[in-house]
């Protein structure tokens, strides 16, 4: 990473003086130590640089990107963006004024300086334990470090650094159908807990020695926090994407409609210290909390500068990561309830415990219809107890209906994230979730 003032001055130096323009720089370094089937298999490091120039010339906007951070390369990118504007989208390029944002310290040195040896040392005990318990683990440890800087011709000069240590593990029984999944992340690598997710995933593996097929039908599901985070990812695209709302692709015509169960309250807040903070969005708009769903009523959608202008309002601070497209919530939190996961299981006569959702796709955004499969551990619940493993199950589900059938909400949220985003998700018990026939290899 570079010095903040030096970096901003390089970007400001190449910023055109005669036309509206914006330069966004995003650099990321990702170090990974990977374990496959209880053995360390590979260490890798990836360094990514991304500079986006947006410029308005003669009423049109052009965009150009490069990964070479040098004055000549940046000047060429500016010149190309200007030229590209000749056939670009109609302007204006709406820029964020250079007003203040909250400075945050988001990049502990312990993460950026974590060595491959330190990561290997964290993974080694898991391999020993897994071997003794006849389990096979695939796991990765990542140390991510990033830097984001935005300057524009309205005087904006925003800058932040971020770091994130992540651990992800999938555990499989070497002899049976049991599967489990675990995840943990923290800005500070020294705070990374790998043992708790491993033990929880291992326990789930061992709780399921036999596997049963499942007839098609509507079931009660208990979605563990990781599965809720997966579901919220697709919920964000369908319900909270401001561009989809503006283009009438959303499943509701106007805000204020009661769509979901009373128990559901969702907001986006990248200033929450419990989550993964970020002071401003990718257009430099200072972040603030946005209430999306309040007691089942949809309150807001996410906007960037351009979408907001189309709706004659102001950005909510949700400009997307360069290279992605729509303004959607990236720091989404689902309000916790008061149920423990054990209570959810104990209160279920017949249902399904789901660890994760896999490959979730939108069949029809307006109908909020999605499909995907369960993964990394799906268990049958009968008479309040986990009784058998199930194969991965294919679901086709009306998401509005599912989120309108919340019976219980978990009492604690877990954090799932990336360098520039983070979801806080509790477990949810839903009474309506439709699965197709579930036999091994038929999802």
């Amino acid at each position: 990473m570079t010095d903040k003032s030096k970096l901003l001055s390089i970007l400001e130096k190449v910023l055109p003086k005669d036309i509206p323009a914006e330069i966004t720089l995003l650099s990321e370094s990702r170090q990974e130590t990977q374990m496959g089937h209880n053995h360390l298999v590979q260490g890798s490091r990836q360094e990514k640089m991304f500079v986006r120039v947006r410029a308005e010339a003669r009423g049109r906007v052009g965009e150009e990107t490069t990964n070479v951070l040098s004055l000549p390369s940046l000047r060429q990118a500016v010149a190309r963006a200007r030229k590209r504007a000749e056939i670009g989208r109609p302007g204006p390029l709406i820029l964020t004024p250079g007003k203040g944002y909250r400075e945050m310290s988001l990049a502990p040195a312990a993460t950026s300086e974590q060595s491959p040896q330190a990561r290997a040392a964290l993974l080694a005990p898991l391999a020993d334990l897994a071997g003794k318990a006849n389990l096979l683990i695939d796991a990765s440890l990542w140390a991510n470090v990033g830097e984001l800087a935005i300057v524009n011709t309205l005087g904006l000069a925003a800058h932040t650094k971020a770091a994130l240590a992540e651990f992800e593990i999938s555990v499989a029984s070497a002899t049976g159908p049991g599967r489990g999944y675990g995840y943990f992340c923290h800005r500070n690598a020294e705070e990374l807990d790998v043992m708790t997710p491993f033990l929880a995933a291992a326990a789930k593996c061992q709780a399921s020695e036999k596997q049963l097929p499942l007839p098609a039908g509507e079931y009660t599901v208990i979605l563990e926090p990781a599965a809720v985070a997966d579901l919220m990812g697709i919920t964000a695209k369908i319900f909270f994407d401001g561009r989809a709302f503006a283009e009438n692709r959303a499943p509701f015509p106007k805000l204020g409609a009661k769509l979901f169960a009373e128990q559901l309250t969702i907001w986006d807040d990248s200033l929450d210290p419990q989550g993964l903070q970020l002071p401003f969005d990718f257009e430099g708009v200072p972040k603030q909390r946005l209430n999306l769903v309040n007691r089942g009523i949809i309150q807001a959608v996410c906007l960037d500068n351009e979408t907001a202008a189309g709706l004659k309002t102001v950005s909510s601070g949700h400009a997307a990561l360069p290279g992605t497209d729509a303004p959607i919530p990236r720091h989404l939190a689902v309000e916790a309830g008061n149920a423990m996961l054990d209570d959810m299981i104990a209160s279920t006569k017949r249902g399904i415990l789901v660890s994760r959702l896999h490959n979730v796709s939108i069949l029809d955004a307006r109908a909020a219809l999605i499909t995907g499969t369960t993964g990394c551990g799906t268990l049958l619940v009968e008479e309040g107890k986990l009784t058998a493993a199930l194969p991965n199950l294919r679901f086709v589900q009306d998401l509005t209906l599912a989120l309108n059938s919340i019976e219980m909400t978990g009492d604690e949220t877990k954090l799932f994230g990336g360098l520039w985003e983070g979801f806080l998700a509790p477990a949810l018990k839903l009474n309506r979730f439709s699965f197709l026939t579930g036999n091994t290899g038929q999802v």
Binding site: Q31, R45, R366
Partner: protein
Amino acid sequence: MTILEQLLNYGLDAAMAGGAEYAELTAVDIEEKKLHMQNARLASSGNREAGISVRLIAGGRWGFAAGPAANKTNLSRLVKAALEGARVQPPPVFSAGLSTVIPAQGSWTGPCVRDPFAIPDSQLAELLRAADQAMAIEGVSIRQGNLHFRREHRYYVNSEGSSNSQTFTYTGGSICALAFGQGEIQQRSWPSPGGSYAKEGYEYIEELDLPGHGRQIAQEAVALTKAPSCPQEALDLVLTGSLLASQVHYTLGYRLQLGMPGAVHPQQASRLKLSSSAITIYADAALTGGAGSFGFDSEGVKAQSFPLLENGRIVNFLSGRETAAAAGRFSGGCMRSGCWLEPPVPWMTNLVIKPGTCSLAELAGGIERGLLLDTPRVFGVSPDLRGFAAQAELGWLIEDGVITHMVKNPFYRGNSRAFWSGCDAAAAAAHQKNLGLMDKGIAVGHSIVPVRIRGVRVGDSR
């Protein structure tokens, strides 16, 4: 020797001096141009990037590092990171091993008759505008068109004496019409929702004829909002177009990527039929214009052409040097990476279905009650890759061998082997089409002929 080649050799020397048993370095230089039009509103963007990746074995383990290295200092840092990544403790139980190859040197340039970067942007915009106007009919709410061009110069060296330089031109395009019905969105795309790609020049865009297909897909999107639902029953299917490409890609190709999660293990191969005898598939990395074509793979192994499935039986795999060595084979030259920042993996190149003898009319003619399906709206696979689910954008109902009317939301799923075991015919070479899709950033070519699958349970996804 160019400056870049000198830099690669410097990095190679540094890796070997640092204790690597094997090392390979790849440098890329990329130029890209994208145009997107939605409802006559054009957006244009470009991209330039360059970088180097270092992949090595040290102490029996793989190490990998990649970054925008433009000088010796940055490259030395990458080499050091790759060596550190490989030398994690404790010592390896299994050392990484590579299959033997004869070192290859050379250069390769993909076909490009009309350089897309030499075509004026105004001409590209005009093409999208013509397609947009063709789709502008009552009932269509959103019209989209996309063009994507990418030129990549790639330089490679390894410690066994292989070296090559390659130049690829990727060209892709698509159009899409969205019509809003009562609480639903119906979509029609050409030739597929994500676009079809070829390693060719602008001539591929001309071949796709986006404006020429605009009116038809727009009309179909509107008609779908009023069409009856897909019947829920077991029907015979004729699969074609980009849906068939996806079906082959996700339910056959994925199973043959040796060593990848969900792939068939070589020891199972002799006992396992992945499909009926009607299906024979070749991997052909040298297919002219194929999206997955190249001169050398990411390990410097020359492009190859070989059968993968013969009459449904597995006869070979898509392999790289490490996975081939583990299976006692030679590399199939199939190591690929979607982005220079990612380590390469065994992946599909171009998959070619061997044509059969039927005409399309004969395929449909042999069906009492069935569906003709062409373009995927959603295609998903299960985590273990053994099952899949698909929804086509539209279906044409076939009754007594004749196409009668369109149905909406046709959804089907199943076990991949069971599905393909129902294939009883492939169409003749006259119906062959080349399509290319991007999966995880890797361009894969599919040369397809329509196929007929018997007895598939279908229904409306709702």
